[in-house]
């Protein structure tokens, strides 16, 4: 009886299978949707973090270099989008007779937006014409001076990146500001 029962067992009907496949698909799609949301959230957080780090690092580098200049040796473009300033030769900082900064051998440095999609901060040494990239995904770069405090330069960076889905992160560009206090007289 037992053997007969096993032999006589019936399979699933087509409708049963379709219901199973249908339900499984729904469940699978749900799981996929959850996974996709999770992945995008993770990507979003990582992108925000990366943007912040990049912008912060770029600000830090610019501030450090602008500090080496002098108020009278800084020129901010009329549209505030770029800056040019002189940095003295580290090997020959001062004249050993007057002990004033030796500007004759100084290099002229420029920071401006450019590069891929005009979204990179480019540092150009105008004396050697060498260019390096300080940061990517920068949508705006602004330099402002203050007549009351000529030794202070304010730098504002706006950064934003598009995810693979095309979604811009963050939705409004991330904005970071720093001030460089110029050290040389």
């Amino acid at each position: 009886m037992k053997i007969l029962g096993k032999k006589g067992a019936k399979g699933f009907t087509v409708s049963e299978l379709m219901i199973v496949v249908g339900l499984s698909s729904v469940v699978f799609m749900g799981v996929l949707a959850i996974l996709r949301v999770g992945t995008e959230q993770s990507q979003l957080s990582q992108t925000k973090m990366l943007l912040q780090d990049t912008a912060r690092e770029a600000l830090y580098k610019m501030v450090q270099e602008i500090r080496q200049s002098a108020p009278s040796r800084i020129t901010i473009a009329g549209n505030s989008a770029s800056i040019q300033f002189a940095v003295p030769d580290p090997a020959s900082l001062v004249s050993t007779t007057s002990y004033t900064v030796n500007w004759t051998g100084a290099h002229q440095i420029q920071y401006a937006l450019g590069g891929a999609g005009n979204r990179q901060i480019l540092r150009t040494d105008l004396a050697t014409n060498r260019t390096s990239v300080l940061a990517n995904d920068v949508t705006a770069l602004q330099f402002t001076g203050d007549a009351a405090q000529p030794n202070v330069v304010t730098i504002t960076i706006s950064a934003q990146r598009n995810l693979t889905s095309g979604r811009p992160v963050p939705s409004a560009p991330l904005q970071l500001t720093a001030q460089a206090e110029v050290r040389n007289p």
Binding site: K61, Q68, V87, P90, V101
Partner: protein
């Protein structure tokens, strides 16, 4: 039967292997994530320490400058000075040197370290700043009359006016005289400043730190002070002058005109009396060891500019002014009493140990004299040049 058992036995082995494989894979992934996390952590620590080290170097510069304000001979600290604060661990070393060719300049070499100055420490970072500071000059003459001990002007029934002008913008004119004819003393004793007769002081009156102007300043019924009477926050230092110019002995003029070419002169004593005239043809600086008596016809400076006639009195013998014509010049006699019994005006300034005036002489302080630096007194250190170790290499 045996075959079935063996199959079951093999299936158990397969499960064990599969478990091992999964455990190994999970361990590998965990290790990879752990390593990745650790790398991020170390990078983050290095980055933080880089900023801490830089700030430590800057703190070292600030510390050195603060020390230099109170002690211009400060040479720094070569030993590591920790400045740990919460999670920010670090410290600095700083050295201060003076170049041979400029005693006003100080070179500050500051090094910042995080977490300490041991190169094998975890996430060790160092930063350095080189700065050149220069002490500003303190003016030698910033009062119309300054005396360490006392100022007494003028005798009963006499008239004296103390006011100011600026020879850089023109000669003195009473109508345009300004009210910076200040009088100062370091003393706080009663009557340190006594203004008698018909004295008018167009300026402020300053006594030494901790004093009381109401007791230290005595103003006669006919005397006037247009400015304030107050207490100085500092004791003014007027070092004894010195010169490397050898002494030419005594200079005594009783008649005729003696012309001094521009330059520096050194005499054991200086006396101009009778019809004698001492005339300078350019900027002249005279150092006198002993007595100074200017009682003659005149001492004439070039273009009547007080800056062109400076007398530095090294010793403590009395300086006597009793000239019959105006004196355009400044007298710096920090160890001597200056007695002015003349009736002619003094255009310039006087620094003395004690100043006594009995005549009708007026003192017109020339503010251009504030450009004469007190070489032995250093002012505030100011930045001349600044350089930081930079991650963006210069020229690239």
């Amino acid at each position: 039967m045996d075959t079935k058992r063996r199959f079951r036995k093999d299936r158990k082995g397969f499960i064990l292997l599969t478990t091992y494989l999964i455990v190994t894979l999970v361990s590998l992934f965990s290790l990879a994530y752990f390593t990745r996390g650790n790398v991020f952590l170390q990078a983050s620590e290095r980055n933080r320490n880089k900023i801490v080290a830089f700030n430590m170097a800057e703190a070292a510069v600030d510390f050195a400058v603060r020390q230099l304000v109170s002690n211009p001979n400060y040479t720094g600290t070569a030993t590591f000075t920790p400045l740990n604060s919460g999670s920010a661990q670090g410290g600095y070393t700083v050295t201060v040197s003076t170049p041979l060719n400029n005693s006003r300049v100080r070179i500050i070499q500051a090094n910042g370290f995080a977490p300490d100055n041991n190169t094998v420490s975890r996430a060790y970072q160092a930063s350095s700043i080189t700065t050149y500071f220069e002490f500003s000059s303190n003016p030698l003459f910033n009062f119309a009359i300054f005396a360490a001990d006392s100022v007494n002007l003028t005798g009963s029934g006499r008239f004296a006016s103390v006011d100011s002008y600026d020879s850089r913008t023109g000669q003195y004119a009473s109508g345009s005289a300004t009210s910076n004819g200040d009088i100062g003393v370091n003393s706080i004793a009663a009557g340190s400043i006594t203004l008698g007769g018909q004295t008018i002081v167009k300026g402020d009156v300053l006594i030494g730190p901790g004093g009381n102007p109401s007791t230290a300043v005595t103003v006669g019924p006919n005397a006037t002070i247009t400015g304030t009477q107050s207490t100085s926050a500092i004791t003014y230092t007027h070092p004894t002058p010195s010169t490397s110019v050898p002494s030419s002995g005594a200079l005594e003029l009783t008649g005729g005109t003696t012309i001094l070419m521009p330059g520096t002169y050194h005499y054991s004593s200086l006396k101009v009396s009778g019809q004698g005239v001492l005339q300078a043809s350019g900027p002249v600086t005279i150092y006198v060891d002993g007595a100074v008596e200017l009682t003659g016809q005149s001492v004439v400076s070039q273009n009547n500019l007080p800056k062109n006639f400076l007398i530095y009195v090294i010793g403590s013998q009395t300086v006597t002014l009793a000239g019959q014509t105006d004196l355009y010049g400044a007298i710096y006699a920090p160890n001597a009493e200056v007695q002015n019994s003349g009736n002619a005006a003094v255009f310039g300034a006087v620094v003395a140990k004690k100043y006594t005036q009995t005549g009708n002489a007026s003192i017109h302080f020339d503010q251009a004299l504030t450009e004469v630096a007190n070489d032995q007194s250093l002012g505030t250190p100011r930045v001349r040049a600044w350089q930081e170790q930079n991650s963006l290499t210069w020229g690239t």
